[in-house]
Each structure stands twice: as structure tokens, then as C-alpha cells.
Symmetry: C2
Subunit: 414 residues, 2 copies
Amino acid sequence: MSVNEQAQRAREAATALGTATRATKDAALLAMADALLARTPEILTGNAADVAAAREGGLTAAMIDRLSLTEGRVEAMAEALRQMAALPDPVGEVVRGSTLPNGLELRQIRVPFGVVGIVYEGRPNVTVDAAGICLKSGNAALLRGSSSAAHSNAALTAVLRDAVETAGLPADAVQLLDSTTRDSVKELMRARGLVDVLIPRGGASLIKAVVEESTVPVIETGVGNCHVYVDAAADLDKALAIVMNSKTQRLSTCNTAESLLVHEAVADAFLPRVLAAFAEAGVTVHGDPGVAAYSSSVVPATEEDFAAEYLSADISAAVVGSLREAVRHIRRYGTQHTEAIVTESVAASREFVAHVDAAAVMVNASTRFTDGGEFGFGAEIGISTQKLHARGPMGLPELTSTKYVVTGDAHLRL
Amino acid sequence: MSVNEQAQRAREAATALGTATRATKDAALLAMADALLARTPEILTGNAADVAAAREGGLTAAMIDRLSLTEGRVEAMAEALRQMAALPDPVGEVVRGSTLPNGLELRQIRVPFGVVGIVYEGRPNVTVDAAGICLKSGNAALLRGSSSAAHSNAALTAVLRDAVETAGLPADAVQLLDSTTRDSVKELMRARGLVDVLIPRGGASLIKAVVEESTVPVIETGVGNCHVYVDAAADLDKALAIVMNSKTQRLSTCNTAESLLVHEAVADAFLPRVLAAFAEAGVTVHGDPGVAAYSSSVVPATEEDFAAEYLSADISAAVVGSLREAVRHIRRYGTQHTEAIVTESVAASREFVAHVDAAAVMVNASTRFTDGGEFGFGAEIGISTQKLHARGPMGLPELTSTKYVVTGDAHLRL
């Protein structure tokens, strides 16, 4: 079936989903969870084929680990769906409302987008998460996963579609697109009018291609060149803990710190400590001359280093003369994802928050907190780094649009 | 200067605007209003050149009227700026906030987009409105008006820029792009990273071109093929008033009704009345056979008629067998702008509201109410017909994005 045909079916499914009650949608989510558990063997069989192919193809151990499913991982997927069922339904929420001077009743109400396309890589649990989040928010999902997970995703969506149907909703609420060809991504990008929004999750090159070529509105996610700025007024113990947590708590996420900026007033006191800690943690520091002065293990930083989202045990570092200079550096190299300041000064934190343009600004907290789960959203479809529609972690409300409902009694415009 | 250079300057200006206080921005708006009044003669001189060229170029009387400025019209522009100064500042509003279980303080705060591009046609007052709305919401404006209003717009922006500067904000907060070439629109569409959002206002072809080619995120505005559905349970006196107001109160606006759907149960009672009223008002009805049966003056409707946004004294009309059929018709031909139902039945109104996918749904009210002014927003930059970010009339909050500010005390992720 072509992507266009699948999108047509999704459109039809969306009309049913859009008016489904919360009770029906939650029942479907619970049925999906039950079905994953009941049919774990066929899911693991599909996954085994992907893992075998990955081994043959020489994928790294880390990639194979991300791909591999176990009974425990399937249970975790089911649990995530149960938790979604417990979340409030965003659809129908009255966002604003008033009675106009002429007596017209104005209400702005959350409605589903309709059809949401998601392009993603890697882990098969994204298939389940995305299907669940879309269903809960009343949207039909067109899922375009990685070819490396093709069998796993096929097994998972077969199970999910059956469960959706037993709950009285159309199976086409969840559809998997062909992952063996790039054409399916291209068709999806051009399905304007059928697909309401496209969310690319993955590397910079995928996101760039989608932004360039898509006529479907896009929510850009994820690239994070996040900075931690250690201010002149920082508590250096806190700074050390925040820098190390931001960089090393997990290396490969978009909210991991990739760059350290240190005010020159605390460079003498702070840099020897943090460089030692990085050395101990096995993190390579790519520093400017101001940083390199403190350790022979510092690698000279290039322009590319300051612009890099390493996603590895590397960090760029520079000494800055002022908070203003830190802001300018971030404006030049940052990706508007997450930027952190460590300071005890209210004035400095106000200035940093006001002048740094990013989805999230942390004051005395790790960059790793930019996350739907950490923010208490209960579910997350990705982290938007664009300014339109949604910015930062996207939960259920971010997967909705709105509709004005205006009720009168033969009201005419004068 | 190239569009890219202008966008660079806008970017610089945006950093100042983004942190300007409400007091400063309101002072600038009032200075802009004062300057328009003080310098009316040079504005009228510029306008006279445009009007002369329009006469020479053989533009219609209606187009020349839209282009023409008078002292009274300049006063009205100034008054609009004064009213904007009185509106609340959207920037800094806390959209949501909570204290997380670990004590982190989470706030989601409205921030300006940064740089907003607006492409528009016709009336010079849009130049002033757009400049004012952008400034109030903390955005730098790149204005690309019609070449027919080039001298008027140049005079207006010269006045506005001077006023902005006297109020202590950068003149580059308001910039006019070259309207003599299509290239400026093209450059604007590709200025991703410099321009944060692009709002095309105008005909379907402009909007289509922008949607197709822009890499800058777009908010689509305006095309309205709006329907009025007269239900079986309609009060026919109310229906007649609402239909006539929706169609004839003003012919050339996007919220004007372009299509009438009548339930067959009330066709006998309603169609003769409404067809007579249309005849009297000089409106040509393009009807299906069910409508044509009631009057020989009805012109047979084609597919194109049902899809048309006439913006003229024409309306398409059809008889439908049920509310469901009306919804299907609207889904097929509508543009998701404004759709109205006339009914006394709560059940019918609920069904229509739930199933019709549009920016605004009217129950027993004229389609003409979809308007920022009528909705009480105080200012409007356009009416969005897309689902992403903003849907329906866009006021000041719709010209903002958000930023999460997370404050802790050495909070680390575990």
C-alpha cells in the first residue's frame, strides 16, 4: 500500500478517534497493554530476526542493545501504555472562553490534530510510545521506524492494531510505513492535506531533510548542543556536581551538556577541579587556550568542537570574560535546546534567563532535566527545538490543536 | 540592502525588543501614533504617488479605494496603535508552572518569536497594524507589502522607525522589504535561522507558494470557503437572517459565507424565502438540482462552485439529506476556516461541532464573527487556517513562543 493510501486510511480513522470518548480511548490503551503481554512471544520472534540481521550487519554492541527486546522490556512498554491511560485527556479541554459583549459565547477547545506522522530511529519501544500518545490525544499515527527494527515494529503494530480494534476503534489508528525505502519518508513529507503534522526524531541530517522538503507542517526535535555556564558568583561545589551530572549522567541524549563555559574570575579555582573530574570520568575536554592553560590533557578546541553535539565522552570548554560573553557564545553555537547557569546571584540568573534563547533554561540544575518525564508530563513524544506550536518536551497537549466554538441566538454582525 | 542583511539587523533588534519592558514598548507605540499624526502630510504625499500609479495602471475603483489614505484613515491607524498600547503584554506571562517532587521550580513563560516576516497585499494600514502588533509582542517585523502601495509603505515605515528610535528601541524593529521584486519573498522564505516565522496574508496562490517553498516555519492564513448549514431543526427566521448576514454583510472577506447547505426537511419552507432574499440582494446562487427546483434564476453549480471562495456576490447551494451529509460536504469542499449551523436542537449542534473540523464553528451565529476584533482580542495579525501553533484569529499571544525556566539548588538527575 502506498503512503498516500495509508494516509487516506489514517484520515478516516482520525474522524472516529477525534470524537471517541476518553473512556473508549483508555480502554484501547489498556487493551494494547494486555495484548503486548499476551503476545510477547511473537514480538520477541520478530525482534530476534532484527537482532540477527544487526549482528550480521556488524552493528555496534550499543546499537544492538538498543534494538533488543526482552520480556522485561515488553512489560515496560505495556506499563507505559497503562500510565498513559491514567493521564487526563487533552481533547475537549477549554483553553479559554468568555461571553462577548453581544452575548455570544466563545470557547476555545482542544481538538486532535488528526493524522500525525512520526519518523524515528532505533528503539522499538518508540513504536509503542508513539502509538499510545497519538491514540490518547485522538490522533491517527503513521509510524516510520528504522529498517533495522522492521520485524520488531511489524510485530508490535500488528498486536497494537488488533487491540485497538477490539476496543471498538479503527485499526488504522496505528499504521506502520515501509521502512525499507527512503521513498516512504518522501511521500509522507508531501502528504499535505492528509497528514496534519510531521515529527522527525533522529539525527540532524534527517531533521534537516524534513525541514527542507516537507510541505506538511513539521515539529523539529532534538539536536542539543547544551551549555553549562559557571558564573563568577557560582558556588563551585554545586557547579562541579551540575557540570558532571549534565555531561556524564548519560552521554547520548539531546539534553546532555556538550560545552562548558567558565567565568574568568573563577577559572583558577574551578578549572583544575573540573578537569580532574573529567579526566577521572574518561571525558576528553576540547578547550580554548584559557582552558588548556590548566592541563596538558586538554585538546585544542576548533570551531567544529564548539558547534558539536558530541553524544560521546567529549566536551568543549572555554573561559569567558563575562556573562554577556557567555550569552554571545551560546547564541553563536547553541541549538536553542537547554542552557544552564550556575550562580548564587539573582541578578546574574535573571540576566541569563532573559537573554538566552532556548527551549529550557536551567538555573542551578542539570541540563538533563529537560525531559517530559522529569517535567511531570507523564508521556513525551519528543523535545521540540522550534518556536512554533511547541517548545521543549512535548506531552499530550502539544499533540492537539484548538477549535473556536461560538454559540449565539441568531447573532448577526453589524 | 538584501533581505538577508535586513533579517540580520532584525535579529539584532529582536534581542533588544525581547527584553524591553512593557512600559518601553507602550511608549514606542504611542510615539508611533503621535508621529503618524504629526507627519500625515508626507504619508499622504507618498500615498498620492501610489494612487496616481494605480489610476494609470487601470486598477479597479475598489482597489484604488483600498489603497487610498486620507487624514481620517491615518488617524484610525494611530488610534489602532493607541489601543494596542492599552492591551496586556503577552511576553512574560507564565503559561504553566509547578514545583516538581524534587523541589525544582518549573515555569513555562511566553517569549517573543524573535523575527516575524509578514507578506501582504493591498491596504497600507496593514503596515502599521503589523508593525504595532509585532512590536507589542516583542518581535522585530520584516514587512513585505504590495508594490502598489510601495510609496505609502515607505513613508509609513520611515515615520514608524523614527518613532521607535525616539522611544529608545532599535529602528530595525520595523523594516520594509523591497516590494518591486518577487525575489524578496523568496529570500524571506529561505532565511531560516534568521526569521522565526512567516505569515503570508493574501490570495491562495501566494499562500500555496509560501507553504511549498518556505523553510522558515509558516502560519498559513486566510482562504475561507465558509458554509452555513440550515438544519432540519432550524428556526427559519433566524436561519434567513444568519445566511444573509454571513453572505452579504461584506462580500470580500475570508469569513464571508460562500456556500449554503439546506436540510431537505426544510427545503420547501426555506429555499423560496432565501432565494428571494438573495435575488433582492443581487447575489447569484449556484445551486445543485435540489436548489434549482425552487427558482429559475439559480445557475447550475459545478464542482468548482462548491470549492470556490468567491469573494463576490455569488454563493453555492445544495440540499442535503442529513446533518451527516452536510458534514461530509463540508469536509470535502471546506477550507477549515469557519462553518456554521443553524439549529434549535442541542443534539444537532453537538454533533456538528464535534464532527466539523474548522478553526471556528458557529452555532446560530453569522460566519462573519470569526475575527480578532469581534472575539475581543484587541488586535489581529490574521486568521490562521492551519492547525499548528495558532488556529483562527491570531492576537498578541499567538505571536509568541514559550521558554521553560527551571530553577533549582544543585539539582542533579538520578
